[in-house]
Amino acid sequence: MKTMDERPVQVGSARSGRFKKHHAEDLAGRSYTFICVALLIVIIISIVFFVASKGLSTFFRDGVSVSDFLFGSTWDPEGNQGDPVYGVLPFIFGSFATSLLAALIASPLSICASLFMTEIVPGWGKKLLQPVIELLAGIPSVVYGFVGLTVLVPFLRNVFPGQGIGIAAGSLVLSVMILPTITSVATDALSSLPRGLKESSFALGATRWQTISRVILPTVLPSILTGIVLGMARAFGEALAVQMVIGNAPHIPRSLFESASTLTSVITLDMGNTVMGSAHNDALWSMALALMFMTFIFVLLVRLLERRNRI
């Protein structure tokens, strides 16, 4: 939409031949962008509508109460212990625990990496790190999951009590996955800082470390937070890699090294095995709806942070 607004206004359009050609081009370009935007809007609206209509039928048609669904800690959709029970608290807990922990592990690393690239060794540091970070972002999640299952899980099993599978393994895998997201956002923010800010700090006699910790970091903090929120949103939505290393037991675990589940891992695990329109299937759609709702909150957070960011 921005590009359309910035389109140069036609001045002196009296010469008819030239005007017509320009006008036609302009109209074509304009309708093309309109179609693209409209298509996007239609797609988004239909996805939201579809997921909502499926997800809400758990509550309206299958008669599950919202509070039982969100705060119930028993998940027994097949009715193995009598009546089916749909409590997704363990999955919500698992999703939040893994993505928060992943952000906690990844943020310091990413911030240091971006400081290294922009402030400490801007020359070869950036040349070396930038491709590495981009490479990390390009690795498919199934590869992360498989490496996690083959390398990380046995390591955790040998070092810590438990089977190695669990929230710790999940958040470690996720932290590597969201590292590029946070790093690239932080690097962009750091390199777009006005030079004057740093130079005046140096002129006042501050050391490099003082400049970084007192001037640069506080200034770019909202941008870095944006990066962290974006990273968390990615971690929250990641399904495959987490599902491979987390164990998928539908319970709130007693430790970081005990089998647990996330919203996404349960959806991918059960979706193909359930019949469309059954209560179990509807419950999975409700979880998808909850996931989507969380994504909206993350986007909202990013918007708020961006607003604060405008100096």
């Binding site: 409209a38 089977q163 164990g247 037991a249 007693r254 005990e258 095995n273 359930t274 329109g277």
Partner: protein, 307 residues
């Protein structure tokens, strides 16, 4: 600026209407095209067959489809095989989106009323065996012991005659057909998901975890068994193809290919090919299934066994 916003809205709305109109026109075109395709297959079979469902059955159907389409008399038939799980397969065949629904379980177990229209074509038998990590020191488990393990009553291998080591359960998701088969025929009861138990979707991952995790127990189809895991006898009966055929070993299930009502000629041709000796005696055996024709016992949807 002020004029543009309503304009954008109007354009969007117009486009929505246009797209909606396009959509309905498309479906009309599609259905009429398939109608004509159905009419003019007097001489040679042509058309497309879509088989959707069970990932356990998918490799067999895919391999058979390749061979089927390579035959000159069927070269005009396109067979597409997709995964998605037994539930997806049954839903899509009952809803008419797919021609064949592949399933690990009887349709009656998943669907309610819709299953009446579905016609069952059994293309193979899959048997499962309990497996453990190699270090547990147990090579036979009774049904009672298995139930105790999978319901959490027994949590250490020494209670069933093995080493002093905690038991780690590696299960399938509660909706999975493999788990249903194992619960129904090995345990004889449903089990809940225990705290600390691991759930994995694919046989490959189950095998990997069982072979690497000390004290782990899981269950795998016979085709996945090798010396990386310790295969446990069930009530003293070894899980072999012979024991399954003779009915001594009870933990097995049919692989089903469902059609809605009587199949179209091209679908029927493919199903006949699946049931032919060419597939049953080669591909079925090769991929670790047991041909239905070689079974000395039969089983119905309620689990009743007849000789």
């Amino acid at each position: 600026m002020k004029i543009k916003k309503p304009l954008l809205m109007i354009c969007t709305l117009a486009l929505v209407v246009m797209l909606a109109a396009c959509g309905s026109k498309d479906t009309q075109g599609g259905s009429s095209a398939s109608g004509t395709a159905n009419n003019d297959k007097s001489s040679e079979l042509s058309g497309s067959v879509l088989a959707v469902g069970s990932t356990a059955l998918q490799p067999l159907v895919e391999q058979a489809a390749q061979k089927f389409m390579a035959k000159p008399e069927y070269s005009k038939i396109q067979v597409q095989v997709q995964g998605g799980g037994s539930g997806t397969g049954l839903t899509q065949v009952a809803g008419g989106q797919a021609d064949i629904g592949n399933s690990d379980v009887f349709a009656e177990e998943k669907l309610k009323d819709e299953s009446k229209d579905l016609v069952d074509h059994q293309v193979g038998v899959i048997a499962m065996a309990p497996v453990t990590n190699k270090d547990v020191g147990v090579d036979n488990l009774t049904q009672k012991q298995l139930v105790d393990i999978f319901t959490g009553k027994v949590t250490n291998w020494k209670e069933v005659g093995g080493k002093d080591e905690p038991i780690v359960i590696v299960n399938r998701p509660s909706s999975s057909g493999t788990r249903k088969t194992f619960e129904k025929y090995a345990l004889g009861q449903k089990t809940e998901d225990l705290k600390g138990s691991i759930q994995e979707e694919s046989s490959g991952t189950v095998k990997k975890i069982v072979s690497e995790t000390p004290g782990a127990i899981g269950y795998l189809a016979l085709s996945y068994l090798d010396d990386k895991v310790n295969v446990v006898k069930y009530d003293g009966v070894e899980a072999t193809v012979e024991n399954v055929k003779s009915g001594k070993y009870p933990v097995w299930a049919y692989e089903h290919m469902y059609t809605k009502g009587e199949p179209k000629p091209e679908v029927k041709a493919f199903l006949d090919y699946m049931a032919s000796d060419e597939i049953q005696n080669n591909d079925v055996v090769e991929l670790g299934y047991i041909p239905v024709s070689q079974m000395e016992v039969k089983r119905d949807a309620d689990g009743n066994i007849t000789k």
